[in-house]
Structures are given as structure tokens and as C-alpha cells.
Amino acid sequence: MNLGALEYFGIALTLLVYVAASWLRRRTRLAVLNPLLVTIVVVIIVLVLTGVSFDDYNASAEWLTHLLTPVTVCLAVPLYEKLQLLRRNFLAIIVGVTTGILSGLLLTFGVAKLVSLGTTDYLSLLPRSVTAAIGMGISERIGGSAALTLAVISLTGVFGNLIGARFVRLIRIKDPVAQGLAIGTASHVGGTAGAFELGEAQGAMSSLAIVVAGIVAVVLTPLFTTLV
């Protein structure tokens, strides 16, 4: 019996591991047991052990990826509920997000130079912090590999989800608006899931940052495409 041929193998496995990991984290209260990270690692191990190919897994699990677009649309809800916060902080939001995206692009450029990265790989890494849908669009447009971009974007989201809430407090970012913007700009939807753990305001600002950062990145990324 080939498990990969089963229509519900991928999605059931993913949800089962995620629910179990979330339960484990609640029980143990261990921060390292980030449900998202645990799920990715366990799913990879299961695929390797059972010999199910990624394509077979994804034929089923891809359902979850398809939900990313409607869930991003739904982020308008927390944003709307925190409209006052957006109005009052408009200028700070624009300055914060633009500075953040710019520093990310500069670092990518610097690291690419440092390890003498190939042009396609460099271009694929540039939209790393932008939400999947926008980042892949940028990557394709500037000549990167969309598949590689999606993988680094996802991992950035996972990392932001893992450390975001603790890191912003550690480096003394105390204002809820600044906390949310920092997490959303650096780690898009993945981090936003973690920002909601800090509070509604942080979640809403993180949702907003996804959009603002996406738009800023669409404008700024093409300026960094020459690796010389």
C-alpha cells in the first residue's frame, strides 16, 4: 500500500502533527516546541521514513497553502477593528516599515557579496521577508526562482513565529504598535500568528505591516537587482 496515493494522507498528517504539537506545547510550556517548527520537522521525517514523495504529500496538503490568500484577505478584520491605532500612528508606520525593508535588502546584498552568491539565488533571496503571495510575484518579476523564494519566505515566517514575541521584548521594543510592525515587517503572516499571542493590537499592526511592507518591497526591491 502506497501511503502517498491516499488522497487525505498529506493533509491529515499535517493537521494531526500540528494539533499534537500544539497540545504538547500547552502541556509542557516549552517555547522551543513551537508547533509550526515541530510540524515541519516531523512531516519531513515521516516523508523520509515512509518514502512518500513531496509531490504526493503536497497533492493533498496543498489545500492548506490555498487558504493563504483568503486568510490574508481576512487580516482586514483585525485591521479594521484597530482603525484608530492605524490613524494615530500613520507616519511612524510608514517610516518604521520602510527603514526595516531597506535594511533587509541591504543585508541581503551584503551577505550575497560576502559568500559570492549566484545572481539567480541572490534575486530569489531578496523578497525573503515579504508575504508569500507578494514575494513570489517580486521574485518572478526580477528573475529569481519562485520555488526557492517560497521556501525561504516560509522559513522566515517560521523563524519569526518562533522568536518574534520574545525577541521584541528582549530588545526593548515596548510599544504595541512598534512590536506588531516589527514582527509583521520581518516575518509576514508567519510572524503575525505569533504577534497575536502578544495582544490584539500587536496582531492588527502585524497584519497591517504585511501589506505596507509588501507594497514598499514591490517599489524598493528592483533597485537592488544588480549584484555588482
Partner: protein, 135 residues
């Protein structure tokens, strides 16, 4: 029917976003158009928040798990060239921390500047009693 109606509204807005993304020659993805439409409908009162809230909150709650399949996809890119692996590793970790730190502190600094400016403005006008703290 309540949940089905909510889901339908969300998916129809997503579809309109997809249509716009295909028709308008700008590199703006469907999700951003959809989010803008949703926000506009809510802000103008055409759509009431309770007409979509339950399903929207449910989707947002399970958002993290939607990243699993595309992250597992790294196994298809294996083995990666060592310089790419190094660059991606540095950027995913250090890059995320850097962008987070800079965005957060730039936001806080701007807020502080604006607050100081607003305070000075109220003072020069001699209207301290009515001065509202601008945060």
C-alpha cells in the same frame, strides 16, 4: 447557513482580488487587492463586521499551519549549493532579527519625535490645559 454565508463572502472577495490581480498590470497579488476590498467594504459600512467575523477569526487562528506544506518543500530543493545554504541561513535568522529590531526601533523613535513635536506645539500655543497627549 451562518458560516457558509461568511465563507462565501470571504471567498468571493478573494476571487475579485484574483480577477483584479490578473487584469491590472501591476505586481500586486490577489491577497492584497482582496484585503483592500475587504477593508474598504468594512470601513464604508457596506459589509458589517459580524457578517464575516466568525469565519475570519477561525482562519486567522489556524493561519500558522498553512505554512507547513511550502516549508516542507525545502526537501525538493535539496541538496542546495553550500554558499546558498549559508546565505539563506544567515538571512533567515540574522536578517529577520535585524529587520525586526530596525523596524521596531525606527517606529518607536518616530513616535517619540512626533510626541515631542506635538507637545512643543501645544506649549507655544499656550494651550497646555487642552493639550492631548499624541502617542
Amino acid at each position: 447557513m451562518k458560516y457558509l454565508t461568511q465563507l462565501t463572502i470571504i471567498l468571493v472577495i478573494t476571487l475579485v482580488g484574483e480577477l483584479l490581480s490578473g487584469l491590472v498590470p501591476l505586481p500586486v497579488p490577489a491577497s492584497v487587492y482582496g484585503m483592500a476590498i475587504m477593508f474598504t467594504l468594512l470601513a464604508t459600512g457596506v459589509l458589517k463586521i459580524k457578517q464575516i467575523r466568525d469565519v475570519a477569526v477561525l482562519l486567522i487562528e489556524v493561519m500558522a499551519v498553512m505554512f507547513v506544506p511550502s516549508s516542507v518543500a525545502i526537501i525538493t530543493l535539496w541538496p542546495l549549493a553550500s554558499e546558498l545554504l549559508l546565505a539563506a541561513g544567515i538571512l533567515v535568522c540574522l536578517g529577520t532579527l535585524l529587520v525586526m529590531a530596525i523596524t521596531g526601533h525606527a517606529t518607536q523613535a518616530t513616535q517619540r519625535l512626533l510626541a515631542t513635536y506635538a507637545k512643543r506645539k501645544t506649549r507655544t500655543k499656550g494651550a497646555e490645559r487642552t493639550g492631548v497627549a499624541a502617542v
